[in-house]
């Protein structure tokens, strides 16, 4: 074995150019894989975080009939006594924040707006004092100020403000229906403009104080949802089920949905995007594999006579295969180390600093819940996979090439 290892090492160092070219082909493939994976991982991690921080919270308590009609944002299925539910949650030390979500038509009039018009919008009525315990929306106010309880003020996202030509201090009119189904008009002044990292929030959501909404919509203290904050790194589905089982005896008509349930559309999209990206990653690997197999095949072909001599001198085919596999594994090892280093170097900038993609995609919705600075994320699992994959790939190709060469007779090998 020592002899075979020494032979493999000597061959690797003697055919340095070939070793470097093969290892480089592998390293480029693995490096690009890790770079793309870091992008994807970052997009997914950040999207999930932005979903929880700004859109869904960790989990949400809803009326049991609300879920089936959630797309219509109905006010008829409410939590009648949110205070009692939140008191129960407080006993379990689960931070919670009530919200009422409804749809409205924003009506704009020329002067101060650039032109007359209307726009459908999703309005979230939140409790300015409790909401920060679950969401991080308050931190994203870029212009103006946060909402105050009881005021007829409104916060809108930057993208929506740009679409409307709105500025802080402008007044908006919202036309909606009360809980009983009567038309209602709410006039509110824009008190702040958000620049939320979650584009879904920035694009089409307006925020007003919960008590103001309660007054205008005849909610009588009821809310459509109570949002919960779970500790990070805990399984949200398991915790949601736990909370639900704790609530149901006292509040039988309530259900708890985790953020995974609430973001089904996003998760389906992410999974689809991941599949498409995996195809691209596969192509990167195939290109690397073709490059590696080409040089390895040539290398073993060039040494067919040497292989014939070894067989003539009585070396077993299995030992010859092992000798070539050690060499192939050596190339794989070098390529994998370089590949992981290359991938790490490529990803370093996007992970530590991120790349501002706003200039590139502007207000375009790319599906992920990210905007502005796009950050990558380290994925140690992918690094380990890439490292071993590189070695396994070269050993496999080495095995195929050696087996092919060994299929020739000894005389064919010797007199080629």
């Amino acid at each position: 074995m020592t002899f075979l290892l020494s032979l493999a090492w000597k061959n690797l160092s003697r055919y340095r150019k070939r070793t470097v070219i093969t290892a480089a082909a592998l390293a480029v493939g693995l490096g690009l894989y890790l770079f793309m994976d870091a992008w994807l991982m970052g997009a997914e991690t950040e999207s999930e975080r932005n979903l929880v921080w700004y859109e869904t919270s960790s989990a949400r308590i809803l009326h049991e009939d609300y879920w089936d009609e959630r797309d219509r944002l109905p006010l008829k299925y409410c939590i009648e006594d949110p205070g009692a539910v939140m008191a129960k949650l407080g006993e379990e030390r689960i931070p919670s924040a009530p919200r009422t979500v409804f749809s409205a038509e924003l009506v704009l009039r020329k002067d101060p707006f650039p032109e007359d018009g209307s726009l459908p919008v999703r309005v979230v009525a939140l409790d300015p004092e409790l909401d920060d315990g679950v969401f991080r929306l308050g931190e994203t106010v870029e212009e103006g100020r946060r909402l105050r309880p009881g005021e007829e003020g409104i916060l809108i996202g930057q993208w929506l403000a740009r679409d409307l030509g709105a500025e802080v201090g402008y007044s908006l009119t919202m036309i909606t229906r009360t809980r009983r189904g009567y038309y209602q008009t709410i006039d509110a002044e824009i008190v702040g403009i958000l620049n939320c990292p979650n584009p879904a929030v920035n694009k089409g959501t307006a925020f007003i104080p919960l008590d103001t909404a309660d007054r205008y919509l005849d909610m009588e203290g009821a809310v459509t949802e109570i949002n919960l904050k779970f500790p990070e790194r805990r399984d949200p589905d398991a915790l949601a089920a736990e909370v639900e089982s704790g609530l149901v005896p006292d509040f039988p008509g309530l259900r708890v949905k985790s953020w995974r349930d609430l973001a089904q559309d996003y998760l389906a999209f992410a999974s689809m995007k991941k599949s498409a990206t995996n195809v691209i990653l596969l192509l990167v690997f195939v290109i690397a594999a073709v490059g590696v197999s080409n040089t390895m095949l040539m290398a073993i072909n060039e040494r067919t006579r040497e292989l014939g001599m070894m067989r003539a001198l009585g070396m077993k085919d299995s030992r010859i295969t092992l000798a070539f596999l050690l060499e192939a594994g050596g190339i794989g090892l070098i390529g994998s180390v370089l590949g992981v280093a290359f991938g790490t170097a490529l990803s370093y900038w996007i992970v530590t600093r991120g790349v501002d993609i706003s200039g590139l995609i502007g207000d375009m919705d790319i599906g992920y819940r990210v905007q502005g600075i796009f950050r990558g994320a380290w994925n140690p699992g992918a690094m380990v996979t890439a490292f071993f994959f590189g070695i396994v790939l070269t050993v496999f190709i080495g095995f195929l090439s050696t087996r092919r060469a060994l299929k020739r007779s000894i005389t064919e090998c010797l007199y080629r």
């Binding site: 002899f3 032979l7 001198l313 009585g314 070396m315 010797l414």
Partner: protein, 227 residues
């Protein structure tokens, strides 16, 4: 020691069947120094390949030390070659990344021999072929004659009963070729190793103690000469 009984070997070249050896019978005793002579295509290399168990006959039988070899498996033949046969090739076939000493040691590393003994025996045989001081030199830095000496040392280091050399001087100038022949003759004399070498060079034939001439795959003469 070696016996070939009516051995034939055909090759297919497209639709044409080339009859490389036709019912050849030959007996070689221990310690002989034999040249297989003949023009190109006469079957010299085929005969050596068959005796060296790196090829199989289509018909007939080959006996080595009284044992038939045709029924042996690939593994058994590899073992036979490893233990009993030494090879010297026309193109030397040294491993370019290994030094002269390592090329010789390589053969012993295939046998169950201790590392110290491998080095001692390899150094001794290199000294015997006149390559003392060249142990750590790579083949690429040796002359053709020196490379062939390494190849001869590699063939002899395991003290095989038979050394087969396919045109061992074909890639060497006449002076170097003669040196290699003298070396082989000396080793034959000193160790009693059987040497069978092929050639079409009359100078090489002159060194043989027995000259077997082939033509179109048939032995046309078999003459013994005074050593």
């Amino acid at each position: 020691m070696i016996r070939m009984d009516n051995v034939s070997r055909n090759y297919r070249n497209g639709d044409i069947v080339v009859r490389a050896l036709r019912e050849v019978s030959l007996a070689v005793e221990k310690g002989e120094f034999i040249s297989i002579a003949g023009p190109s295509g006469s079957g010299k290399t085929t005969l050596l390949n068959l005796v060296g168990c790196i090829d199989r006959p289509d018909s007939g039988e080959i006996f080595i030390d009284g044992e038939p070899v045709s029924a042996r498996t690939k593994k058994e033949l590899a073992l036979l070659r490893r233990e009993k046969l030494g090879f010297v090739f026309q193109t030397f076939n040294l491993i370019p990344v290994l030094t002269a000493l390592e090329n010789v040691s390589f053969v012993l590393s295939l046998l169950s021999i201790r590392e110290n003994e491998i080095r001692e025996r390899s150094r001794a045989v290199l000294a015997e072929v006149g390559l003392s001081g060249k142990e750590d030199v790579l083949p690429g830095r040796l002359s053709g004659g020196q490379q062939q000496r390494v190849a001869v040392a590699r063939a002899l280091v395991k003290a095989p009963g038979i050394v087969l050399a396919d045109e061992p001087t074909a890639n060497l100038d006449s002076k170097t070729g003669e040196e290699i022949l003298k070396l082989m003759e000396k080793l034959n004399r000193d160790h009693g190793t059987t040497f069978i070498f092929s050639t079409h060079d009359p100078m090489v034939m002159d060194y043989a103690h027995r000259l077997v001439s082939l033509h179109d795959g048939t032995i046309v003469s078999d003459e013994r000469r005074a050593a």
